[in-house]
Symmetry: none
Subunit: 230 residues, 2 copies
């Protein structure tokens, strides 16, 4: 189980670590500092923190590498810290499984808000195991999907897709992200899988599969589950 209120900060700048230690400490978090990528990975593995703050500009290895490494064995929320602000990096980090992105110099109050939001989100499925959207419903604990309170028969892969989409209502999930999450990094280019499965799901959940209102397409980017006003 994750250690309550523990955060691992991976950043080579001691000043940043200090600021975060003090600020987050005052907010009731226990902060574990790491100045190097490998050190950080070990710290995450040993301490099972609730969240990780990771700087992209590490000296020994690229922040992306650390991110990838952690994501091979953990779904812990990771907030990226970086001076870079090009969209490519943001998309790349998000594709690799980062949960959020904050650029330096950052506003402390906002970073704390982001931390809380990310912790809250990952705890959602436990405390609130049912999410309702329009006439659809997903029960995470039972692993079931309903439409108009009737159980839908979905395959394992279809469920995984729906799971990810329901967990990120209104947010676009990139092809890359979905493919990596479900089929693994090897198939991160095989977007035809997605087309086929999204098509299958639409047949089951949409009233008019040719004009979907739940799962919409962002051409060239990905898919998103629309939040429908209930």
């Amino acid at each position: 189980m994750a250690s309550q209120n523990t955060i691992v900060v991976i950043d080579d700048e001691s000043q940043i670590r200090k600021i975060l230690s003090i600020t987050l400490g005052a907010e009731g978090f226990k902060v574990i500092e790491a100045s190097k990528g490998k050190e950080g990975i070990v710290a995450v593995a040993n301490n099972h923190p609730q969240l990780v703050i990771l700087d992209l500009g590490l000296p020994d290895e690229d922040g992306f590498t650390v991110l990838k490494e952690i994501r091979t064995w953990s779904n812990i929320p990771i907030i990226i810290l970086s001076v870079r602000n090009s969209e490519d990096d943001i998309v790349k980090a998000l594709d690799l499984g980062a949960d959020d992105y904050v650029t330096k110099p950052f506003n402390t109050a906002e970073l704390i808000a982001r931390i809380r939001a990310n912790i809250r989100r990952t705890q959602l499925p436990d405390s609130q195991s049912v999410v309702v959207n329009g006439d659809l419903k997903i029960d995470f604990s039972k692993r079931l999907i309903y439409k108009n309170d009737e159980e839908l028969k979905v395959t394992n892969t279809e469920y995984m897709l729906l799971f990810l989409l329901f967990r990120n209502l209104d947010k676009v999930l990139t092809h890359n992200y979905l493919l990596k999450e479900i089929w693994g990094p090897v198939h991160s280019e095989d977007s035809q899988y997605l087309r086929v499965f999204i098509g299958q799901i639409r047949k089951k959940i949409e009233d008019d599969p040719a004009h979907p209102k739940y799962i919409t397409t962002d051409s060239g980017v990905g898919y998103r589950m629309r939040l429908i006003n209930n």
Copy 2:
């Protein structure tokens, strides 16, 4: 920490320095004057001003060199002063990291407005996931654009352009910069792409696309998203 309300003016013409000293002094700024490039660099390093005004036509060393030098260790906003008819220089300076430009002879009121805009921009938290401007709104995490709280349908390329413009409110982004960021270095000369896409975006976001208030044109230089008072 940056000294509140301090501006360093680097210009070899004593008359210009005098005018700026008086005008900006009356606006509540403390002005530090430098007549030569090196002197200016030292002044910036020692005084940590809030903003720098730099003349491109310096005698001892080229204004570009000063700009490059300062940019190696500081992100302080730098406004370029330049004689008219030297658009090439302006573009070059902006691509080297200058924040804005004003052509001589300049309108004092406009210069002051530019100074305030640039100071304000650097104080905006750049890690917000939602930015509001007039009746427009962008949600970076969801990757959505709204006008009057209604979602706008934008293509991937249109979104990338809006992303960059929203991240740099009130700052002119050069053709070159935008083309490189979105189409890659190969197309850095194809400014007709920009014209077409800016036109498309204006149709969607402007009340009167022929007289845009959001995305304005800096002829020969680039485009900028104006900050609208909310």
